[in-house]
């Protein structure tokens, strides 16, 4: 390749190669019009100047913005719906417990609101469980521990700032519990705003069934389950209360 010297400057010359490229190169005492074989080409300035610092800043900013966007997406799309409290579900049997729920009905926390409630949830693990599953398991525990007996009323109360979410969850939990316990229990849904708006989900006609966990043969009518401490019963229509004395006697 040969180079035609086109311009001569103190610090460099401008050369034209045979392919049509034009470069700046070291001036080894050339004159305009010289044709030379070897030149020492000027190094292109590395992009550390004005534009590169801008572009680098833009790149940095772009990376940061993208990172924040991803974190925000992760937080809003996954973390928040699954790990931030969105509403609550309260179960009132006699034990009174409340669950803090995420938007996706994941149970984040379970608290006992009274002494029985605390006793009910003692040692209970709610990790990675949804509200209907926890509700069901707590009811089983309540039955096991004698808090719940046949025809007792279980009140559920869902609360949230999201009205739609509240009503959807009320229906969902009550339907789920009704399917499992509707033949044995009265499941009521209580509205937080207006306690008078109670919706009673009629239970199926009671059928004689074997008590699930205890052997109490004395109770012909109701398959009464043991409950030793009845002091705090403040609900309802419970024929079995009349049988408590009998149950106590049998213990």
């Amino acid at each position: 390749m040969s180079y035609l010297i086109m311009e001569v400057r103190v610090g460099y010359v401008v050369v034209l190669d045979e392919a049509g490229r034009v470069f700046k190169a070291a001036n080894f005492g050339y004159q305009i019009g010289d044709v030379v074989k070897d030149v020492v080409l000027m190094n292109e300035p590395k992009r550390h100047g004005f534009f590169s610092s801008w572009s680098f800043s833009f790149k940095q900013a772009g990376v940061l913005v993208t990172s924040f966007a991803l974190i925000a997406l992760f937080y809003l799309g996954y973390f928040q719906p699954n790990y931030s409290v969105y509403g609550t579900l309260r179960l009132q049997i006699n034990p009174d417990v409340v669950m803090s729920l995420s938007k996706t009905q994941r149970v984040l926390k379970v608290e006992g609101l009274n002494e029985d409630g605390l006793a009910l949830i003692e040692g209970y693990s709610f990790a990675d469980k949804k509200s209907d599953e926890v509700a069901s398991e707590l009811i089983e525990r309540a039955i096991d521990q004698g808090y719940l007996s046949e025809r007792k009323t279980l009140t559920i109360e869902v609360d949230s700032n999201d009205v739609k979410w509240t009503s959807e969850n009320e229906l969902s939990v009550s339907a789920s519990l009704d399917e499992k316990y509707g033949n044995r229990l009265i499941i009521e849904v209580s509205s937080h705003d207006n306690d008078d708006d109670r919706v009673e989900i009629p239970s199926k006609p009671a059928q004689p069934t074997t008590p699930p966990s205890n052997n109490h043969d004395d109770n012909d009518n109701n398959n009464v389950l043991n409950h030793d401490d009845d002091d705090d019963h403040d609900d309802d229509i419970d024929d079995d209360e009349n049988n408590d004395d009998d149950n106590d006697d049998n213990d």
């Binding site: 086109m6 103190v10 045979e18 049509g20 700046k24 005492g29 305009i32 019009g33 550390h48 610092s53």
Partner: protein, 245 residues
Amino acid sequence: MIEKTEHELVEMVNRAKSDPDYADILIRQYMPFIKSELSKQVYHEPASSHSDALSIALLAFYEAIIGYDSKRGAFLFFASQVIKSRLIDYHRKERKHREVISLDLSMSDDENVTLIERVADEKTDGDRLKRRALSEQEISEFARDLQSYGVTLSEVADNSPKQERTLRVCVSILEFAKQEPGIFDDLVRTKKLPIEKIVNGTKVSRKTIDRHRKYLVALLVAFTNGYEIIRGHLRRLNSGMGGER
């Protein structure tokens, strides 16, 4: 050399980036500094190569002017680093290539011709000087012509495509212009590149054309009448093309 504050010097450097005449002035002003830096890097070289080393140091100082920004600290310190680095590279390359070339060696572009034959064929000094004078005249005229388009040769060098692919695109534009008579006419008449016609005729993106506008102006102007020496030099370009318009 008049002592300048760093701020004044930076202002001069910034001006020299875009003004080749001013760059010449600045380099001349700092010649003692450049020679001083050179003397720190002198290796045990034949005397004849000292002027070569000075040429390298001058180029390095110019590179420092172009590449400098305030983030790099004081300009003279930056320039001294660039000069040092360049001289080390040059010295390394020179050591590798310092060998006696046999006059009986075949010329790489023509195996039938040896160097001694080529040297012997070379015109007399008088012919060479005459040829060079003609080249200089034509090139000076070309540079003046380019000025009427608002383009300098230094700008053409900065604007010239470096990648083969982009060069081919630019040559394709020249090819199109040769077949489309209106392009040269518009260029000469308006002193501007007829970008719209080129975009429509070649499908080359406007962005590419804008990016290499000054180079394209120079390339097209070289293929208007009168620049035979320059066109003649473009052997590799012409080998794929038909010559002048």
